[in-house]
Point group: C2
């Protein structure tokens, strides 16, 4: 089966973005943007309004594929990213997940080890197969040159929502449980690794060319906890995916990892690292660029502002990082108030860059 | 007047904590904790309930001095920190500030340059003199060996509240205004530098031994913006305070500064740097320790958990950082659910450390 996937992937080097994983520094660099399918697009809002709740949209393969394709039609990005959500995994594990308009996700929080032990992988594949169907449709409908990215949340970040019950700026509830009951927390990590493997495996078999693991809350942890709850589960997840699908590149996005980023890459075995907005280009160049594929890192708020400052910063990023294998992206997701015209402008600026370094 | 302050300060080297600013590595290190006066203490909650609103407590010198003293009586910390709030400055500048129980501060947000231009330093000194009165009382009531820390919020962090109207995890509103209208934003920075100088100057004249500048949201900015909105205003503030009170040490606390921390110290001229919870000890040791006074960085949630892991981590921190001039602290403020007994335990562990490095 792995072999079948490989056979399907080989001719895909016509998908330009994948060449960076062969060590090529492309000029101009390939470009896609985190949350490129989303509320800033009027066509997304129109489709979204037909779907019912947010998870209903994720679980409707026709509509989810449609919103995935919308930014590709508009901007011709080098990659599409499956429209889904990192909280599909807790939902598939039997935890109640809902989305409150304008406030974000709400989950019935896991209070202790008993609540964690009550979760089960058993029914999860039914949910995952719905998402895989979206991927299948996408592989058929996407232009041949567009790479398709599958994804999941990293175990740590998903756990912060499962334990906290919602987003927070310091992830205090999850961090406290990890201190108070590390055994229970480890059991949750192990379950999330297994669920994420099943989820990503389904996406690859359905046609995803590469994968991204979103660890949005990696930055809040002290070093020992970073090792234990960010690096270790990601390493386990990557190792199992590499065993099953050795040719499928994996991008890690440990947002806020700062000083830990280089070690994260070495120890987890990811093929690329997403750099957040705060990571200085000098640090990326000195510690990551040329050793792994780098992706990033324009401030999404500079995309909202647009104009000369955006242009200057894009050129600075491409000038510094584009001399090595590099994928242009934001340092975090597109925000709803982004003018769609600025995204078109951004893509034009990136495609207009010439490598001089 | 500066001279008078100096005369008062000289004999204060009986205040052990101040010796680290002469380059001494004390064993055991001096210790105080951010937000050591606060809701985790029953006596604080009792005093708080007498005060009315939260700002009423800050503006009541007798009660504010009382809550400042409470943790000193309990734990004998090496320093007391004035009980006040970083939002006293916007309040003094004429912006409406209130505190919603359990939700944090609410301000009527500054929408544009016109709203910024409407702010005025004119009436601010009346407010600042009330705070200075608290400092005066404290200097009389504190034990002779206890250092007294004055403080303010850094211009960037205070501005994020003034523009956003409340706390947020990404400071998007302030960051967007800084991109959209950098002139107006610079005017706000300049005003905040001037107001903070007036505020801190009053605290020093009233008897503060040293100062801390809290930049809780320094971590969200890309490098150019970090230079412009974190480093530059802090440098201006430090320079003016050094001109007025050259002998008064200043601790900068650029939370989330990560890779930027060493440059922050060099370029702002602070005498010490507060390290947040996420900063690895190896990085602190390699880039800060021995070049400046270091303060930090136990995870406040590990203080909630207590026990063997806390003890081990405290010893690790003191072992690595205590060989150079060092102040033991948390990496962020004490949280309300902290058991007071754990704080006593923490102080005992710190005082029991012996330098072997």
């Amino acid at each position: 089966m792995t072999h079948g996937t490989e056979l399907k992937r080989r001719p895909s080097r016509t998908r330009r973005l994948l060449s960076v994983f062969d060590g090529e520094a492309l000029s101009p660099p390939p470009v896609w943007l985190m949350r490129q399918a989303g509320r800033y697009l009027p066509e997304y809002r129109a489709t979204r309004s037909k779907a019912g709740g947010f998870l209903d949209l994720c679980y409707n393969p026709a509509l989810a594929a449609e919103v995935t394709l919308q930014p590709i039609r508009r901007y011709g990005f080098d990659a599409a990213i499956l429209f889904s959500d990192i909280l599909v995994v807790p939902d598939a594990l039997g935890q109640k997940v809902s989305f409150v308009e304008g406030e974000g996700p709400r989950l019935s929080p896991l209070a202790d080890g008993k609540a964690i032990a009550a979760l089960s992988l058993e029914g999860a594949n039914r949910t995952f197969s719905v998402i895989a169907e979206t991927v299948q449709r996408l592989r058929q409908d996407l232009p041949a040159e567009t790479a398709l990215i599958g994804f999941c949340g990293a175990p740590w970040t998903v756990a912060t929502y499962m334990i906290g019950g919602q987003g927070s700026s310091d992830q205090a509830t999850a961090r406290s449980m990890a201190y108070r009951d590390p055994q229970a927390f480890q059991a949750l990590m192990d379950l999330l690794v297994a669920a994420s493997v099943a989820y990503l495996d389904g996406q690859v078999r359905a046609g995803a060319d590469l994968l991204q693991i979103f660890d949005s809350w990696a930055g809040s942890l002290p070093e020992d906890e970073f090792d234990r709850w960010v690096i270790a589960p990601t390493r386990d997840l990557v190792a199992e995916m590499k065993r099953r699908h050795p040719g499928v590149p994996i991008i890690g996005f440990p947002r806020g990892a700062g000083e830990h980023a280089a070690r994260f890459v070495r120890e987890t075995g990811v093929d690329a690292v997403g750099c957040d907005t705060a990571m200085p280009l000098g640090q990326i160049r000195a510690t990551l660029s040329g050793r792994t594929v780098v992706q990033g890192n324009l401030d999404p708020l500079l995309l909202v502002a647009g104009g000369a400052r955006m242009k200057e910063r894009v050129r600075q990023i491409v000038g510094k990082l584009g001399v090595n294998p590099f994928i242009f992206n934001l340092g975090h997701g597109i925000v709803p108030q982004t003018p769609p015209a600025h995204v078109a402008e951004l893509v034009a600026i990136v495609r207009d860059t010439k490598q001089t370094g």
